[in-house]
Amino acid sequence: MHVVIMGCGRVGSRVAGILDGNGHTVAVIEIDQEAFRRLPPSFRGQTILGTGIDEDVLRAARIESADAFIAVSGQDNRNIMATQLVQLLFDVGERICRITDPVREDVFRRMGVMTTVCPTTTVSATIIDTVNSHDPDTTPAQRAVREGLGG
């Protein structure tokens, strides 16, 4: 399948490298030319210099034939806008948007137009789980809080 990724930071470059290695076609959009250095030397996909909140840039990444769009730039609002732009203008089956602010993530997840990923929530939950698993005195109430965070 064809995957368009906005943002070539640690996450974007890693996802791009793995998907490319798995035999998918990948296009990476990034505003900072230097960031493309993060891609593995074996990367065969396309790199596009520009912002994902621009229709022309998305088209250059062949968004029209994409099966998935992944917004993982360093800015929540840019990720949110790009994902909605893709949802409105193009028929892309899977739209994944990283939002680091948990409250903002909650608002846009509820709108139901994108799959949201909130690293703040998931990383916090993992840390708390790990801490709790070493605590012999964990009460059922604490466990409930922990599960609440995970969900």
């Binding site: 909140i53 621009d54 409105l88 409250v103 846009f108």
Partner: protein, 221 residues
């Protein structure tokens, strides 16, 4: 009215001052601390530091009782998201966003922003209106009728329509000549009114017929 303005650049600053002068309650939110420090001396508690896209900032601003939220930062994506959060989470009845990329105007409307201010188009229109050689000027898109526009045409000496009655012109359908500016006066035309060189013709037209109308009124003998 209680108005929240986000982005204390020049637009946000002058807009807030204007709204205050009109007697509205205003809160200006800015995420650059040094800009806030600079303006606090003058605006006092009207300006506050924070990222308006963070729900806590809007919560502390009392967004749920705001009548209007106006997002005028320089970043289109920030303006969009702030308006969407204000609407979704705080039920702000009216949101206004400034866009720099003209293409975003339509998209922001589709995404639920009530009023979209397309500054690039405004400036372009102002420039067009002030260039005298340009005889056909797009003045305005009508807010509630997406496909209608108001245009202004200067009739010159060589124009094929000069000295002809409006009733004789084969205007495109869905196009009317609403007014004529002549020698500092405005004439409301009838079919018998003859166009004269120097007339400024104001027409209401369907947007997709602007080109045809231009062809008719601007062609020369």
């Amino acid at each position: 009215m209680y108005v929240i303005v986000t982005g204390a650049g020049k637009v946000g600053y002058y807009l807030s001052r204007h709204l205050l002068e009109e007697g509205h309650e205003v809160l200006l939110i800015e995420k650059d601390a040094s800009r806030v420090d600079l303006l606090t001396e003058e605006l006092g508690s009207v300006i506050t530091f924070g990222d308006a896209a963070e729900a806590t900032t809007l919560y502390n601003a009392g967004a749920s009782r705001a009548d209007v939220l106006i997002a005028v930062t320089g970043e289109d994506e920030d303006n969009l998201v702030v308006c969407q959060i204000a609407k979704q989470k705080f039920k702000v009845p009216r949101t206004v966003a400034r866009v720099s990329n003209p293409r975003n105007e339509k998209i922001f409307h589709l995404l639920g922003v009530d009023v979209v201010i397309n500054q690039t188009s405004y400036i372009r229109n102002l420039i067009e209106q002030s260039i005298p050689e340009q005889s056909f000027v797009h003045l305005l898109d009508l807010r509630y009728a997406e496909h209608l526009a108001i245009v202004e045409v200067r009739i010159d000496q060589q124009s094929v329509v000069a000295h002809r009655a409006i009733g004789e012109l084969r205007l495109p359908v869905d196009c009317v000549i609403a007014a004529i500016g002549r020698g500092g006066h405005v004439i409301v035309p009838t079919p018998g009114t003859e166009l004269e060189p120097g007339d400024d013709v104001i027409a209401v037209t369907r947007s997709d017929q602007e080109t045809e109308l231009r062809g008719l009124l601007c062609s020369t003998c």
